[in-house]
């Protein structure tokens, strides 16, 4: 085949792009590890296909799940993506820690090129394909239920967002088996990621994966904001929403405003790389400082996009497991919104060392510390929520308590980093790495795990087993401290981040402790999966069909577990905050409706999967310069979207009789269930019906 035809068909793709071929050519340990990772992707895909075929799951996979517009299923699919990506990125983290612990004055096991890809994919995945999908999934699942809505404002757009995120995640996974990923870190600073220094496909994979998910996230933000503003049930005033909805609102506003700078940064970088523009090049008037500003104009609000929904989860969890009203609701709302606004005023602290004047640095340093005030207020509000409560140490609650304690330490180092002269001596060192893991692991990861465990019974109708949950919790906490506290010390000792090898023997003991911690964190993830597997096997023991296993307070617990497709047989009317709690207190929960009506729900749609697939094809074609694939993918997306606008039969009606039958069947289960006190919450007796305990004092 002549070169022209090859290029026309496959662009710059060739055999060298396959890690197996590279490992064959250069049989080093590093290449073998790369080939093994690529092999795992291939084998994983083959096994998945075989399993789906063997179990005849293709039809249900597509017809019940991938084409579904049900916000609950979309939420669950987001969490599945997050789980898969978390697994990969955590293994990468362990590999990096192993490398550094071995590579003190020694070559270690992975080559510099490989190591650079590891930290780049680890960061990119953890931020964009683990934390973001996880929290988007939780918001998707819980928020419409909490505000008494049947779905989000734009169910089809929701599916498109999911599939765009999946497409981005898919590109990152494909890069493991075909070609290589960027070595420019998760922030992809040019000019290093420019064509002059990185002519290969790595940064292109990064650019298009990020662009796809960034678009998806913008749409999610838009969707959530419109849902919260416009789809609340009657009486659900903003100040009556559960705090999780407030944080979801704030996060979605941040998504709407903060994702465009990222989209623009990656788009302009792509113009530099593909069309010889000069935005961020060294020569001809390019200015990489523009990229840095754009990136962090996104990047800092992003931190709060990640952390605020987790704050919402903690607010729900701590209140539920303290059997108590959330302390300082108004303060928490104000603090949340204050954080949202302040998050746009501090981006410069990511590059205090760029040579600005002391006035500018000091102003941004003080702005950064100001965020500590609303954050501190929140922490105290959670503490005072436990005050005079009845605290139960279930796994989500344990995560919340560990969060408060650990997060405060992260805040401590955060304030240190906000002081420019101190930043000068720890910036770009592992002190910084320790800091942001110290805020994001307890702040986001513990939060999304707590949220997953808290809402799991609602989503699937059975509780997760507590024993394995607690083992997992112990691993996540112990592992965290062992893995990251040494990095503070090493960072103060001047150890730079992203270093494949080290030459200072004094670093070694601390690196060994850190790698131990990394393995314990991996054990935390493994036990999390064990917990899931055991829970599925023992699901009959742990069923909670009535739907209120934790004696919680907001509307999502007022319906069956799992909830019907339409969420509520009749749209609730709300008279106050914590409405379900007060209904239970007044024995007004679990009542049949006066009369049932037909309910219209959106039909399943193939638009989302096709847009996702088209987007991924477009991205892959761009990465490898396979232009026919790019054009085909792009056309597929737009033809589908325009074609969809000509479809009028987009909804189906669930008859009133069917709704009534389902509702009455559930109410029969409720009256057959035995209400249990909180002491029996973790026993198989918990059928999801809570005993009013103790009798609430009339307010």
């Amino acid at each position: 085949m002549s070169g022209d035809v090859w290029f026309w068909l496959f662009g710059r793709l060739d055999a060298k792009a396959l890690p197996f071929v590279r490992a064959w050519d250069h049989p080093t340990l590093s290449e073998f590890i790369g080939a093994m990772a690529g092999g795992m992707v291939v084998v994983g895909a083959v096994v998945l296909v075989a399993l789906l075929t063997w179990q005849r799951w293709w039809r249900p996979l597509f017809l019940d799940w991938l084409t579904s517009l049900d916000h609950k299923k979309i939420g669950i699919m987001y969490v599945v993506i997050a789980g898969v990506m978390l697994t990969r990125a955590l293994i990468e983290a362990v590999l990096m820690r192993t490398q550094q612990s071995l590579a003190v004055d020694a070559p270690g096991i992975v080559a510099p090129e490989h190591f650079a890809q590891l930290f780049s994919t680890h960061g990119t995945i953890m931020v964009f394909f683990m934390a973001m999908p996880f929290l988007t999934g939780l918001i998707n699942f819980a928020m419409p239920l909490q505000i008494g809505a049947r779905d989000v404002a734009f169910p089809l757009l929701n599916s498109i967002s999911l599939m765009l995120t999946a497409a981005g995640a898919g590109l990152v996974m494909i890069s493991l088996a075909i070609g290589d990923f960027s070595t420019g870190g998760w922030s992809g600073y040019p000019p290093y990621t420019g064509k002059a220094f990185q002519p290969g496909v790595g940064p292109d994979y990064w650019i298009w994966a990020i662009t796809l998910t960034s678009l998806g996230t913008t749409f999610s933000g838009l969707n959530f904001a419109a849902t919260i503003y416009k789809k609340r049930c009657p009486g659900m005033h903003l100040m009556r929403m559960p705090l999780f909805c407030w944080t979801a609102l704030c996060t979605s506003i941040l998504m709407v405003f903060a994702m465009p700078p990222l989209t623009l940064a990656t788009a302009l970088l792509a113009l530099d790389r593909y069309a010889d523009f000069h935005f961020f090049t060294n020569d001809l008037g390019g200015n990489m400082m523009n990229y840095v500003n754009l990136f962090w104009l996104f990047g800092h609000p992003e931190v709060y996009i990640l952390i605020l929904p987790a704050f919402g989860v903690y607010s729900e969890v701590i209140s539920a497991f303290s059997s108590k009203e959330l302390y300082g609701y108004t303060s928490l709302v104000l603090a949340t919104m204050a954080i949202g606004i302040l998050s746009f005023t501090v981006w410069l602290h990511h590059f205090f060392t760029m040579g600005q004047s002391a006035d500018v640095n000091a102003a941004f340093g003080i702005a950064t510390m100001t965020i500590g005030v609303p954050t501190g207020v929140k922490v105290y509000d959670w503490i005072w929520t436990m005050f005079r409560g009845e605290v139960r140490f279930t796994t989500p609650m344990l995560f919340s308590i560990a969060f408060i304690v650990t997060f405060v330490l992260g805040g401590f180092s955060g304030i240190l980093l906000a002081v420019p002269p101190i930043d000068f001596v720890v910036h770009n060192t592992v002190f910084l790495v320790a800091h942001f893991h110290n805020v994001i692991i307890p702040g986001t990861l513990y939060g999304v795990i707590a949220g997953y465990m808290y809402w799991f019974p609602k989503a699937f109708g059975f509780r997760l087993v507590e024993g394995w949950g607690k083992v997992s919790f112990a691993c996540w906490v112990v592992g965290f401290y062992l893995a990251f506290m040494p990095l503070y010390v090493l960072g103060l000792g001047g150890m730079p981040r992203r270093s494949q090898a080290l030459f200072e023997p004094d670093y070694r003991p601390w690196l060994i402790v850190a790698v131990l911690g990394a393995f314990i964190l991996l054990a935390g993830l493994v036990t999390l999966f064990v917990q899931l597997a055991v829970s599925v096997r023992e699901r009959e023991k742990n069923r909670v069909p009535v739907g209120d296993p934790w004696d919680a307070r907001s509307l999502e617990w007022s319906v069956s577990a799992p909830p019907p497709e339409y969420n509520f047989a009749t749209i609730p009317h709300v008279g106050r905050r914590d409405v379900f709690y007060w209904r239970k207190a007044a024995h007004g929960a679990y009542k049949p409706a006066d009369h049932y009506r037909d309910i219209t729900v959106p039909r399943n749609s193939w638009v989302g999967p096709i847009v996702g697939l088209g987007g991924a094809a477009c991205g892959f074609g761009l990465v490898w310069h396979i232009w026919w694939m790019t054009i085909l993918g792009f056309a597929a997306v737009w033809i589908t979207v325009i074609g969809r606008s000509f479809v009028r039969d987009t909804h189906r009606v669930i008859s009133a009789a069917e709704v009534e039958a389902t509702d009455r069947a559930w109410l029969a289960q409720v009256s057959g269930a035995h209400p249990i006190p909180r002491q029996l919450e973790e026993s198989p007796k918990n059928f999801g019906l809570a005993e009013s305990f103790p009798a609430p004092v009339p307010a």
């Binding site: 510099p112 090129e113 650079a116 070595t183 000019p191 290093y192 220094f197 020569d283 008037g285 200015n287 990489m288 400082m289 303290s322 108590k324 009203e325 959330l326 302390y327 300082g328 609701y329 303060s331 060392t353 040579g355 002391a358 006035d359 640095n361 000091a362 510390m369 100001t370 005030v373 501190g376 105290y380 503490i383 005072w384 929520t385 436990m386 005079r388 409560g389 009845e390 605290v391 408060i404 405060v408 805040g411 401590f412 304030i415 240190l416 906000a418 002081v419 001596v425 720890v426 910036h427 770009n428 103060l492 000792g493 001047g494 730079p496 494949q500 030459f503 103790p694 609430p696 004092v697």
Partner: protein, 312 residues
Amino acid sequence: MMPEVTDGDSAVAPPLVQGRTRHRTRRARVLSAAVLLSLGGCGVLDHGMLGAAGPVADQTRSLFVIVCLILLFVVGPVLLLTPIFAWHYRLSNTKSAYRPQWGFNWPLEGLIWIPPIVIVLILAVFLWRGTHQLDPYKPLASAYPPVEVQVVALDWKWLFIYPDEGIASVNELAFPADRPVHLNLTSGTVMQSFFIPKLAGQIYAMAGMTTQLNLAASEPGHFTGQNTQFNGMGFQNQKFPVLAQAGDDYRAWIARARAGGKMLDMAAYKALSARSVQAEPSRYGAVAPDLFKSILALDDAGAHTAHKEAKR
């Protein structure tokens, strides 16, 4: 405050750190010794700012300790109250009070909002003062004029040009311990970050632009400098020895460089700037005039005068 300019003779040993700051420095040293001990007195911390070997790192350490002490007031109550409340109000404790509808209290709100605000205000004062005092562009107070060094970040090595001496070195920064050093930095490649942990904070070096850094050593010694901004496959090797020397040693160092005789002109620079890791330092006995300016002009950032030809 402008340093008093003498005729540049560095043979006379001047006092190193100004008397005004000496008292504070000693206090900070005691405090930081306590911090060091609490962390196990391990050698690792000695490689960073806590093992300060120059006035800038020293003052940074004082600021670090002060901020840490203030922050104890923030962290302490949380670390205490969280476990206490969680344990005391546990479900199995039937003696603890239970007020499920208690969710607001004005005095408590004050207690929650006001102390953090006050602490941030206090910290803000320290931050403002510290940031101005330790501005990397601010010349260090000294009886002697600073040694001028032009720094070019390359893949994966550092070029140091001494414009006053007309010499240059690669991967070795030498200066007299009794004089401050004033660095003008740029990059001949991607962005890098220049950092000598024991002497001063870091600053970015970017192509087509200059940044500045002032540093000094308290006494003669050998330190390690490094790039901390990832810039490719030789990144981990991009370290260089920093030699703060007694005046005579420094002059001998210059003489050795001159004797080497190699000339650094644009052609030599182009050869040098190819991507490579250089294990051993090398020196140039002569440097083409205005080479630093020519290197800057290679990557013309056009309008970005704010950073070009630093005028501050």
